[in-house]
């Protein structure tokens, strides 16, 4: 083995963006993830959870909700008010369509993937038809006051449940009428505070599961509008909820960073009566868990601490192997650092700018593990801001350190770096 100098690079101040939403592909092979900076990532579960695709963000485009529809098409909607289809081959936002209801808080696809429902700031729920080559506005459902924060289709596609502040309502899709409106802040002493329904799910049995800011997960009968069960899982808000396809297990994420697993278990062994029971708590995250997903074999959660955690359900995993391991995606899986070996330069890529650093150097040698004193401190040479609203896709520096290039979705820029003494100058090519 040769002798190496190891640099401790503590000057790459990357702030990763938190996970905003997750969308599990209906067949369970892919997972789409949107970050708070608007970037969309696609993970392929079949290929060892490899980060397959990254679509960098855009200044004007935030993503509040993602969904897979019509096979492998990925749609996103955000507070900008647009519904965007992503071109997964070209890694770009392909087509956009204005939702027409102000900022969009949520979007869900029906079970067949032919229709999209969006919940808007103005309280409306709109249905869009997924057509080849884009989407088409179909109809407006009953509009009530109060922003629609979350939506869920009934598995038979006949009803939609929409969660708002203090209440949720069940809408008949064919007639477009609200058939049930349930206040969720009853029987709470602190009723003066508004109760935000952050996440909702409509099960095939007709049970509505709501998760609210009082830390409760509640089970309602949607026809009668009665509360069947209430689980206070946390003292802080429950922000997200995902139900497995078999509807026997669900995961909720809270604002303390804890996620909880709820299971539908028989009250008596072998009996038919079943009840939802909060079973295991997990504390993987340090901040709010804004997004959770439930794949057939794993609980997936993403938090504002930018971590993606995939926790396999041991009882569902058949054999001990690569799938049965808890995985945490803490580091970005992209190349954000490039190195000019000869010039001892490092190029760091941030979402909107680049930083060029010169490594420190030493003249001494030492044994393994010794810290050598630096004769020259690492030096920040230049910060290069990209123009326009688009985020940087990729960047590179040449080994000699004289050429520097980056690209966005639409442009490619090349710069020549000239170091003369202490000063550094950049010239656009």
């Amino acid at each position: 083995m040769g002798e190496f100098e190891v640099h401790r690079v503590r000057f790459f101040g990357l702030v990763p963006a938190g996970v905003r939403c997750l969308a599990c592909h209906p067949r369970g092979t892919r997972l789409a993830l949107a970050r708070t900076d608007g970037a969309v990532e696609v993970y392929n579960f079949a290929a060892n959870y490899f980060q397959e695709k990254v679509i960098p963000g855009h200044e004007a485009r935030s993503v509040e909700s993602l969904c897979w529809a019509a096979g492998d098409r990925l749609f996103g909607a955000g507070l900008g008010g647009d519904i965007t289809e992503y071109d997964l081959a070209g890694l770009s936002a392909a087509r956009g369509l204005d939702g027409g209801g102000g900022p969009i808080w949520s979007m869900v696809a029906n079970s067949t993937g032919t229709q999209l429902a969006i919940g808007c700031e103005d309280g409306s729920v709109k249905i869009f038809q997924v057509v080849p080559g884009g989407i088409q506005f179909e109809r407006n459902l009953d509009r009530r006051k109060g922003r629609v924060l979350c939506l869920s289709w009934h598995p038979s596609d006949t009803h939609i449940v929409a969660g708002s502040i203090d209440f949720f309502r069940v809408i008949d899709v064919t007639s477009g009428q609200t058939v049930q409106r349930v206040m969720v802040n009853h029987h709470v002493e602190k009723a003066r505070r508004e109760c935000v329904v952050w996440a909702i799910a409509l099960l095939s049995s007709g049970t509505v599961v709501s998760a609210d800011s009082f830390g409760r997960v509640q089970f309602w009968d949607w026809e009668q509008g009665t509360l069947a069960e209430s689980h206070t899982v946390s003292t802080s808000a429950v922000l997200s909820l995902a139900v497995s396809q078999k509807e026997d297990s669900m995961i909720v994420g809270t604002s303390t960073g804890a996620t909880y697993h709820l299971q539908l278990l028989p009250v008596r062994l072998g009996g038919l009566e079943k009840r939802w029971v909060r079973t295991k708590p997990f504390q993987f995250h340090s901040h709010d868990v804004r997004a959770v997903a439930h794949s057939p074999t794993a609980l997936i959660s993403g938090g504002l601490d930018a971590q993606l955690v995939i926790r396999p359900l041991m009882e569902k995993v058949q054999k001990k192997g690569y799938d049965a391991v808890l995985r945490k995606f803490t580091f970005p899986h992209r190349r954000l650092v490039s190195c000019a070996r000869k010039a001892r330069l490092l190029l760091f890529q941030f979402s909107q700018y680049l930083e060029l650093w010169r490594l420190g150097s030493t003249e001494e040698t030492g044994k393994d593990g010794e810290v050598l004193p630096l004769c020259r401190m690492p030096e920040h040479l230049v910060q290069l801001k990209s123009k326009g609203p688009e985020h940087i896709y990729c960047s590179c520096v040449s080994p000699c350190g004289t050429w520097l290039g980056y690209s966005t979705a639409s442009r490619f820029q090349l710069y020549r770096v000239r170091c003369d003494g202490d000063g550094v100058s950049l010239r656009k090519v």
Binding site: T232, Q263, R268, R278, K280, P281, M314
Partner: protein, 825 residues
């Protein structure tokens, strides 16, 4: 001959269901099972018959008036606890550590026994209870259900409808399904990560659902579900306790879960939710065991200090049953309170308990340290180490010190008994009376000289003994007239003072300094003489009494018992005996010495004048006896055998290192229950029908009147606490005649009639006149008593006529109702 006193409550079973209320609380205590009435707070019955520790008790699920009990002597007994009769005895053979009786299995019970050939391995077996005619039956048909179970009864539980059994041990949980013959094992990780400790401590099953609740060493409670799947089992956790969960209990419907631990807080969890919980704090001491009554109205918690708290279903503390409180360490020794004849020793931390031997109850607890006790390991607490009473019990001296070895914070407190408040009040507090630990303390016992002669002597490891006397307070603003201060400091060659003792007449003080015993004149504080028996330090010293008061007895830790004659200043005799406890009887010449040799304690009783013992009891018990005390009897007992004559005036009590209180008695086991409580039990057990109520009322009124008639006679003899008044107070209110009716009798009984007074005066005069001739005065006394009796009968003659009138009225009323009701049938 040796009968262990009430201590070490093992496990309490629930109450028997009668009507809609739990009436009885049953608990195992040592070799006995006690039946306790919840309503009257009295021990109704003592079920005795086991030859060793009773490990577990269970109500017979098929008959709630019957009780199964298991013991280390290898037998299962079936009792009728209402009458206290053993119905059946099943001999199993090996030690039984836990017992479970199921509703589903009529002819078998489950017991935990040690596995043959392996140490510390236990197995759960089912015992077939053969149906036979006789009382003593064999229970030898054993079939093993589970192997490798825990020895504690808390570590096994039976599930809903007895379809499965759960056992926990260390980090493993096993579930065995009876019907499917399926055994599932689950284990948690044994690693102690992040302060977690996954070891199981206890287990209970939900009564109606398939849910298992387990308590853990780190304070977590896990609720297991779906445990018939090897893989898809799941559990959730509840966490409030900061240390080990000692026991769990489900409510009758399973909606509430109770848990308790060292925090001495009872936690109630609702609907298995970690957010909804209620607390019952400040229960005094760590909770060891929780038990629900079979109707779910009451629950009781058993505490590590040997106390049972009864708690309502709405989590309100109802009452407590406490015998001898088990303290961490009895440092004070066994002291007898001269006033109440109660045994005084360490109780709750920082408290002094007064334990009545007659009623097996704590009389009261005196807070000496007066500081909040915090349950936390490693915290240095102050505790009571020495206690002494003056001869008549008017003064109490206590010494408390903190646990720090190097620099103990010492406090000597003197308490005066106030007749008005009937309690001890702090008179003087002396900070740092000695510079090092106080080793011994005694009052000068002089009954006849009164309080002026009262002297307190303390000896310390700082090589001095100090004499404390009362001084009149000159300060007019002071609240009290006297206070205590140091009068004399004595030392001997800079040796540590270890023991001190006054002679019976108070003229001499013996203080032992390591190897030497010094004798001091208590008037001038001159050193009179010294005794020594090298090698070995003096462990105990005491003076002889009565005819033997010229002798001084000392025991050394080299195993010698020496007797010195104070007149000749020479060694009278010595014996080779490893004496642990040396205890003189205050009422006779006898001295009891307890030796500890080759893992057994032996008792020797001797008179100092004779070098051979009066009585020897070898192998008194297996445990080490740490303390002993002679408690004077109220009345001298008639003892026929010459051998036991030394027990005539006082009774000897021992405390072992496992804090078991033992006594010697010449009789076989006698019931301590008073007749009144027995009668109560019978009354309660009667089925209540309208007819019996009417009849019973009538009968009881008559009986009541009889006792009422007898009462004043007894009452004039004994001022307070006469059995008749007790009877009156103990009779349930609903069977008593009306208050207005009782009032005159009661008031009359309190009055002292004129004739009575004169008779007493006469008796006094007679006594004064004939002081020398004892026999004569005795005779006079007898006649005087007879006079008293007759006078009372006369006085009561009027009352009987009164009673019968009012009684007739009531009878008429009853008759009217009675006939109309019967005619309906």
């Amino acid at each position: 001959m040796v009968s262990p006193g009430a201590l070490r409550v093992v496990r309490c079973g629930g109450g028997a269901q009668r009507g809609a209320r739990a009436v009885y609380l049953l608990y195992a205590s040592g070799d006995f099972v006690k039946v306790h009435s919840v309503n009257t707070e009295e021990t109704l019955r003592l079920l005795c018959g086991h030859a060793d520790l009773v490990t577990d008790i269970q109500l017979n699920p098929h008959n709630h008036m019957q009780l199964y009990s298991s013991s280390l002597d290898g037998t299962i007994k079936l009792w009728d606890f209402m009458d206290g009769i053993p119905i059946k005895t099943f001999t199993v053979g090996s030690k039984l550590l836990a017992l479970y009786a199921l509703a589903g299995a009529e002819d078998s019970v489950f017991v935990v026994i040690p596995k043959k050939g392996e140490r510390d391995t236990f197995q759960l077996v089912s015992v077939k209870l053969t149906k036979g005619a006789g009382q003593d039956l064999e229970g030898k048909e054993l079939s093993v259900v589970l192997d490798g179970v825990g020895a504690s009864p808390k570590q096994i539980a039976f599930g809903r409808e007895d379809s499965y059994v759960v056992s926990v041990k260390d980090v493993n949980l096993q579930v065995y399904f009876f019907k499917r013959k399926l055994l599932n094992r689950f284990s948690l990780s044994a690693a102690k990560t992040k302060g977690g400790d996954n070891r199981f401590s206890c287990v209970v099953c939900h009564p109606t659902e398939d849910c298992i609740a387990t308590g853990h060493a780190d304070g977590k409670i896990r609720l297991w579900r779906n445990f018939h799947h090897k893989k898809a089992y799941t559990y959730s956790a509840l966490h409030w306790h900061h240390d080990i969960v000692m026991d769990l209990a489900y409510s009758l419907e399973g909606t509430r879960l109770l848990s308790g631990g060292v925090e001495s807080v009872l936690v109630q969890w609702h609907n298995e939710s970690s957010c909804q919980k209620d607390f019952l704090p400040r229960l005094g001491s760590p909770i060891d065991c929780i038990s629900m009554s079979s109707d779910g109205v009451l629950c009781c918690t058993l505490h590590t200090d040997n106390r049972i708290s009864i708690i309502n279903s709405n989590l309100r503390f109802s009452r407590s049953i406490q015998g001898l409180i088990k303290s961490r360490d009895v440092k004070t020794g066994l002291v007898v309170d001269p006033r109440t004849k109660a045994l005084v020793l360490n109780g709750e931390p920082g408290h002094l308990q007064f334990y009545s031997l007659q009623s097996d109850q704590q009389l009261f607890s005196l807070d000496i340290v007066q500081r909040q006790y915090i349950h936390q390991a490693g915290l240095k607490q102050s505790d009571l180490v020495k206690v002494a009473f003056s001869a008549r019990g008017t003064w109490l001296a206590t010494v408390e010190e903190s646990e720090e070895v190097a620099d103990p914070e010492l406090q000597l407190k003197l308490w005066f008994y106030s007749e008005e408040t009937q309690s001890f009040a702090l008179n003087t507090r002396i900070n740092t009376p000695h510079d090092n630990h106080i080793t011994d303390m005694c009052f000068r016992d002089m009954d006849e000289l009164g309080d002026d002669s009262l002297i307190l002597v303390t000896t310390g490891r700082d090589c001095v003994f100090k004499v404390w006397v009362m001084v009149e307070d000159s300060d007019p603003e002071a609240h009290q007239s006297v206070s205590w201060s140091c009068d004399f400091v004595g030392s001997y060659h800079n040796y540590q003072a270890t023991n001190c003792c006054f002679s019976e007449d108070g003229s001499l003080l013996a203080v032992s300094f390591e190897e030497t015993v010094t004798v001091w004149d208590s008037l001038t504080w001159d050193l009179k003489c010294t005794f020594c028996h090298p090698p070995g330090n003096i462990r105990n010293i005491c003076f002889g009494r009565l005819t033997c008061s010229k002798y001084l007895i000392g025991a050394t830790d080299y195993g010698f018992l020496c007797c010195w004659n104070l007149l000749t200043c020479a060694l009278e005799w010595s014996a080779h005996l490893n004496v642990v406890v040396l205890q003189p009887d205050p009422l006779s010449e006898h001295i009891a010495a307890v030796s500890w040799l080759s893992k057994e304690s032996s008792l020797f009783v001797f008179k100092p004048s004779e070098p051979w013992p009066v009585y020897i009891q070898r192998n008194l018990c297996k445990e080490k006896i740490l303390l002993a005390a002679f408690v004077p009897r109220d009345e001298p007992e008639m003892i026929s055998s010459e051998k036991y004559l030394w027990l005539r005036k006082s009774q000897l009590f021992f405390l072992t290192d496992t804090q078991e209180l033992m006594t010697l008695s010449t009789k076989s086991l006698e019931e301590r229950l008073t007749p009144s409580s027995k009668q109560l039990a019978v009354e309660e057990s009667l089925p209540v029908t309208p007819f019996s109520v009417l009849l019973g009322k009538h009968r009881r009124q008559q009986a009541q009147e009889d006792t009422d008639l007898g009462k004043p006679v007894v009452h004039s003899k004994q001022e307070q606490a006469s059995p008749a008044v007790k009877e009156l107070l103990h009779t349930p209110a609903h069977v008593l005649p009306s208050a207005s009716f009782l009032c005159t009798i009661f008031i009359n009984s309190l009055l002292i009639s004129k004739e009575n007074k004169s008779a007493e005066e006469v008796a006094d005069e007679v006594e004064m006149e004939s002081e020398k001739a004892d026999d004569e005065s005795d005779e006079e006394d007898v006649t005087a008593m007879e006079e008293e009796d007759t006078s009372h009968v006369e006085l009561l003659g009027e009352m009987t006529s009164k009673l019968s009138k009012s009684q007739e009225k009531e009878l008429r009323k009853i008759r009217k109702m009675d006939y109309s009701w019967i005619s309906a049938f």
